[in-house]
């Protein structure tokens, strides 16, 4: 999921100080799991804004904020509230914020969160980055552990000289990705494969931005 963090509230209030009436838009998926865009956070921000004497015309937690069409349909029933608001504050990830920008051409849209990374929830509201969407997955060659993401240098062929007792030179809190990969390859009987292979430099043209994908197959006539 996309991991988000609340922007500093003082900074947020400063960003939107020129507006009088707001509509708050959350998201029931990642942002809710991250505690940044669920009902509770919407209520909290509503209270904050109203405490400052600003009006909150409406608030809604969209099912999937990055799903543009679906969110548009869901928001139909808030036509009146949205009409009153001169600013929409989006409490999801940067993608959700831009769904709103696309939907409301002539209304100000502001983000309430910082989008951090694609991660896994390891415990309640604790997240680890595991994949950086490089566009050319090599997990098949690295025992299922991603060095592009979990090694701070993105090394592809084994540990650097910075490994210290199995930890990374960058921080003792990070287990060295290449020690993990080596151990996993060993446990799964793939050590020879690891030793024999050298991974070539990645083809970063697979992640030139902005990326676009059409997954649906056009129906044959």
């Amino acid at each position: 999921m996309i991991i988000t963090q609340k922007k500093d509230r003082k900074e947020l209030l400063e960003n939107v100080k020129g507006y009088r009436s707001f509509f708050l838009l959350g998201c029931s998926e990642c942002a809710t799991l991250c505690g940044t865009g669920g009902q509770e956070q919407l209520d909290e921000l509503k209270g904050l804004l109203e405490g400052e004497g600003r009006a909150v015309a409406g608030a809604f937690v969209a099912k999937t904020g990055c799903q543009v069409l679906g969110t548009k349909v869901e928001l139909k029933k808030f036509k009146e509230e949205l009409g009153k608001a001169d600013c929409i504050i989006v409490m999801s990830c940067g993608a959700g914020t831009q769904s709103a920008v696309e939907m409301f051409e002539d209304k100000a849209v502001y983000p309430a969160n910082d989008s951090m990374f694609l991660g896994n929830m390891t415990r309640l509201q604790m997240f680890d980055e595991r994949c950086s969407l490089c566009g050319e997955c090599i997990l098949d060659k690295t025992g299922g552990i991603c060095p592009v993401t979990t090694c701070p240098k993105g090394i592809l062929n084994g540990p650097c000289g910075g490994t210290k007792d199995g930890h990374c030179e960058v921080s003792a809190e990070i287990p060295c990705a290449w020690v993990r990969i080596y151990e996993r390859m060993e446990k799964t009987g793939r050590l020879e494969e690891f030793k024999a292979g050298t991974l070539a430099a990645k083809d970063w043209s697979a992640s030139v931005k902005p990326r676009k994908l059409t997954a649906r197959e056009e129906k044959k006539k």
């Binding site: 701070p152 240098k153 993105g154 090394i155 592809l156 062929n157 084994g158 540990p159 650097c160 000289g161 910075g162 490994t163 210290k164 007792d165 199995g166 030179e169 960058v170 290449w178 020690v179 080596y182 690891f194 030793k195 050298t198 070539a200 430099a201 990645k202 970063w204």
Partner: protein
């Protein structure tokens, strides 16, 4: 005799290093090069060591050449993508630089520009592959070059890495990628290093043992605590401690000379890489003590 010829001649080779300064005043650097140049077989020039921004290694390598000494261009993958690295390698070749040491490089978080974007488009193994390709007249994309490079390329290895097995696997990958020589992270436990060399001797590569001059017990403890892959054994720390403040550096140099003698006399490895880190004038002293001068 070039560095490569020296290694192939079977003599016990000595390399030292100079660190480019932060700023354009290179008077001290000229001085260090002059102290070292006739004593050692080659001089490493570090590449923004510890990710601290300084003069580029390439320019200082050229200055080393102008002193009639032989430079080893250290190249890390931290600050340049594959275009920048290959372009600098071509530039190094036309400036007459013949030795290159390929490394991944300390992370920017270790340095003085923590907000910099780390590049790591390549890493050490892939950089070695790139050098090999340039030597054979092709760039990484397979394009033909109008004139290839002439590098004698090497890598680094950490014999004290914990765990060791993944490090050794990478060592082999570097050799397959074209590394001809290795300079190791500083080693102080010769018996343990001998075990590493038994492994390394299976491959057709030259190995220079790394050594950082110890100037006090405090420094040894600092290395143990803060530098991954360095382990100064307790008995050496006690020896430094026993020497007292006044005599600690002298003892550190004696330890260095003793180690070098043993590495050479027992034919354990092909040479020594002395990292003086600000004590360049001590390198000839140590060499004399070790009977190398």
């Amino acid at each position: 005799m070039s560095f490569q010829e020296a290694l192939n001649s079977g003599k016990f080779v000595v390399t030292a290093e100079v660190g480019p300064p932060k700023g354009t005043d290179i008077a001290a650097l000229h001085h260090d090069i002059d102290i070292l140049k006739d004593k050692v077989d080659a001089l490493n020039v570090t590449d923004n060591q510890s990710a601290v921004m300084r003069i580029c290694s390439l320019a200082i390598c050229r200055i080393v050449l102008e002193h009639n000494a032989e430079p080893i261009l250290q190249m890390t993958c931290r600050d340049r993508n594959r275009i920048g690295l290959q372009s600098d390698l071509l530039g190094a070749d036309v400036l007459g630089i013949r030795n290159v040491l390929c490394m991944t490089g300390d992370h920017v978080l270790a340095g003085d520009h923590k907000g910099a974007k780390p590049v790591y488009d390549l890493e050490s193994v892939q950089l070695l592959t790139a050098v090999d390709s340039l030597n054979n007249g092709r760039d990484m994309a397979g394009n033909g070059l109008k004139g290839g490079t002439h590098f004698f390329q090497g890598g680094v290895v950490t014999p004290e890495a914990n765990p060791l097995a993944p490090q050794l696997a990478k060592f082999e990958k570097k050799i397959r990628a074209g590394a001809k020589f290795f300079q190791t992270q500083a080693i102080y436990d010769i018996d343990k290093f001998k075990e590493f060399m038994t492994f390394a001797r299976r491959f057709p590569v030259k190995v220079l043992a790394g050594f950082v001059i110890l100037k006090s017990a405090g420094m040894a403890n600092f290395l143990n605590k803060n530098v991954p892959g360095i382990r100064v054994p307790e008995d050496l720390i006690n020896e430094l401690k026993a020497a007292g403040k006044e005599k600690a550096l002298e003892t550190g140099m004696d330890i260095a000379a003793r180690h070098i003698r043993r590495l050479r006399d027992e034919n354990i490895c092909d040479g020594i890489h002395i990292m003086a880190i600000g004590m360049e004038d001590k390198v000839p002293v140590i060499m004399r003590k070790a009977g190398l001068l």
